[in-house]
Subunit: 409 residues, 2 copies
């Protein structure tokens, strides 16, 4: 008997009918002879609705109370899902973050899981229960309620799978797995049967919304295989795991894109130690999450420093960066929020030349100007004008021959 942890996203439990549908899928897993733990997100737009409610009360809700408020969304869907399972004749029980033993630090709104005390959860499984856990939340040692921030429910699921030594974590949502590109942009994109943690981490970080990078990282750390599949179909999905078949490795695997990019360039920065630190410490203190950072080669002790942020944070990032730019004697501070990112990802790119050249040539042939380039061992990212991103994805998808059926194990 294997222990399977499943996670269903908000769109999969958006209404009563969808909740019953999810319950039927859970029952199938249970009846196949498995023990099942399920992590659920809040129904549909519940979290956004709760945030709106808070904003009607005050423009600046405090973090502790926002967590108390938001945690209710997942509790509601966990109880409803148990009711659906019970009405189908199955034993089930809901556990909130505290009851499931999700112990976190006390960084409200973005708490980190310190430990999972799974005793109660395991006892409920022993009793024959399907255990439904409210995702996205935990509890501090002082019994205060926290939420885990972005990717919270994915992280809950992988953490539970790791701490219960589950055979697998299955993450169900409204997409059928990981594709060679976003199928909404490239209709001929192919589903991948499997992908490595490292590749998935790059894709998730550079625009794929299918699973949060935080959950992938945790999966890699504890070696939890993660299946990403649709809750609306029976297609097999994509398995994220360590051992990806050798013969599929020497390739670009997928193309990620991200339309939510703004760029700030501080022009003419004196190239002294400590300058970068002064800027990025200030941004971090203002709660601004900085993405890519590029410092152009220094000439005559003067350099240009460029970084990207989410578009919604451009204004506040500029407000932090401008006075610092001035105080350190930089020439100017320029913001641009009409940008996007396109990235090619594949472990096959390691030790294999020519990928970058082919990427740049493809974009150039399409008349797409590259604003910024960053790379990792297994990824090349170009920042281009927002309105060129989709053209870039399509051109690269074709250039790297991703529209052919992907080889599988």
């Amino acid at each position: 008997m294997a222990l399977i942890v499943q996670k269903y996203g908000g769109s999969s439990v958006a209404d009563a009918e969808k909740i019953r549908n999810v319950a039927r899928r859970i029952v199938r897993t249970k009846e196949a002879g498995n023990q099942v733990v399920v992590v659920v997100s809040a129904m549909g737009d519940t979290t956004d609705d709760l945030i709106k409610l808070a904003q009607q009360v005050t423009s600046q809700p405090t973090q502790r109370e926002l967590d108390v408020l938001l945690s209710t969304g997942e509790i509601v869907s966990s109880a409803l899902l148990v009711m659906a399972l019970q009405s189908m004749g199955h034993q089930a029980i809901s556990l909130n973050g505290a009851q499931a033993g999700i112990q976190t630090d006390s960084a409200y709104n973005r708490a980190r899981i310190l430990k999972v005390e799974a005793r109660r959860l395991l006892a409920e499984l022993e009793k024959g229960n399907i255990v439904i856990v409210a995702g996205f939340q935990g509890i501090t040692k002082d019994m205060d309620i926290t939420t885990l921030g972005r990717g919270g429910s994915d992280t809950t699921a992988v953490a539970l799978a790791a701490s219960t030594k589950a055979a697998r974590c299955e993450r169900y949502t409204d997409t059928e797995g990981i594709f060679t590109a976003d199928p909404r942009v490239v209709p001929e994109a192919q589903r991948l049967d499997e992908i490595s943690y490292d590749e998935m981490l790059e894709l998730a970080t550079y625009g794929s919304k299918v699973i949060h990078p935080r959950a992938v990282e945790l999966g890699e750390l504890y070696d939890v295989p993660i299946l990403v599949a649709s809750s609306f179909t029976d297609n097999p999905g994509t398995l994220i795991h360590r051992e990806v078949a050798m013969e599929v490795r020497n390739k670009v695997r997928s193309i990620a894109h991200d339309l939510d990019v703004a760029k700030i360039t501080i022009v003419g920065v004196p190239d002294r130690p400590g300058i970068a630190a002064s800027i990025f410490v200030a941004l971090a203190e203002a709660g601004i999450s900085v993405d890519t950072i590029v410092q152009n080669a220094s000439t005559k002790d003067i350099t240009d420093l460029t970084f990207t942020v989410a578009r919604s944070q451009l204004k506040s990032a500029m407000a932090v960066a401008e006075p610092i730019a001035k105080s350190i004697g930089a020439r100017e501070c320029v913001g641009d929020d009409k940008l996007g990112k396109v990235s090619v990802v594949g472990t096959g790119m390691q030790n294999a030349p020519g990928f970058a050249a082919r990427m740049f040539k493809t974009l150039s042939d399409k008349g797409i100007n590259i604003e910024l380039i960053t790379t990792s061992e297994i990824r090349i990212t170009c920042i281009v004008a927002e309105n060129k991103v989709k053209d870039a994805v399509r051109a690269l998808h074709s250039a790297f021959e991703l529209d052919k059926k992907q080889p599988s194990k």
Copy 2:
């Protein structure tokens, strides 16, 4: 420095503006030099909405999960109220039932409070916080979430007042206190400055919706004075307490009515021991709450047994009673759901003759037929046709001279 426990009902926190209004009232109490604990209900129709959601998933939601679901309503309003207080510059913190130490038995949907472990709550008060507690909920020794059933938030408030030795429990809602009759029925009804626990218990049990009898009972047991007042005005309200001024006692104090009454009469019951038990045990097992029970004087070993239930339960009560009536050889079983109850209440009725006579004569003068009479030491209740109830209330209000300004202490 006094400790005040306040309770605000669902209509008082129905939207963001009303929540800010409640916050302003709490601030006034705090700024008058008090420590303040506040118990809140779920916003407006939240609880009903959650029940509807459950019923969309299954027609028979289980009790444990229904409690998990319903408990979120009060958690939401507690967090929002804290946000409102904080935005006004005051220190505040929300506690759910578990955090507030409301320990209950495990009778889901209608749990009883066993004990309040108020350590955390008192610690938060010591830190200078206004403490907002999610009403209506508690936790079992196994850390399962329970709700307290009808009157739950009132009961939470009185229990917290008792266990923290608060000076007073203030219950705010959309009515201005306890009146000599329902002001919607009798426009000239007068607000009472004070009323005894016993009188309030009779009024609440016999139709007044202003405060739940369970909370009044608990208040009496622990001698917690309870102020009932409006959250929308600054009128003084009504104080429910032990020592009501001597000179106002020798009177009818208020008239309660209840339109939700159905009656079942089992005609021609053989007058043997155990017959009544067989019927009422079966009704209790079917979850039917029986109200008044009257057995008419026995003649020739045959009696008529009459009892009342809420109108919504008539059908299921008949389904239980009819086969039993048949099996014990009763003649027939008759149901009537077009009834109402009118009650006059006042400790002054003890040891003072003539009240019943005046009540019956008043109804008779108005041509109102009395179907059933029951009394306690301080109450006389007549069951009459539903469409005569309001006439009866008005006639009695006038006959007992309740439309004159009520004497106060």
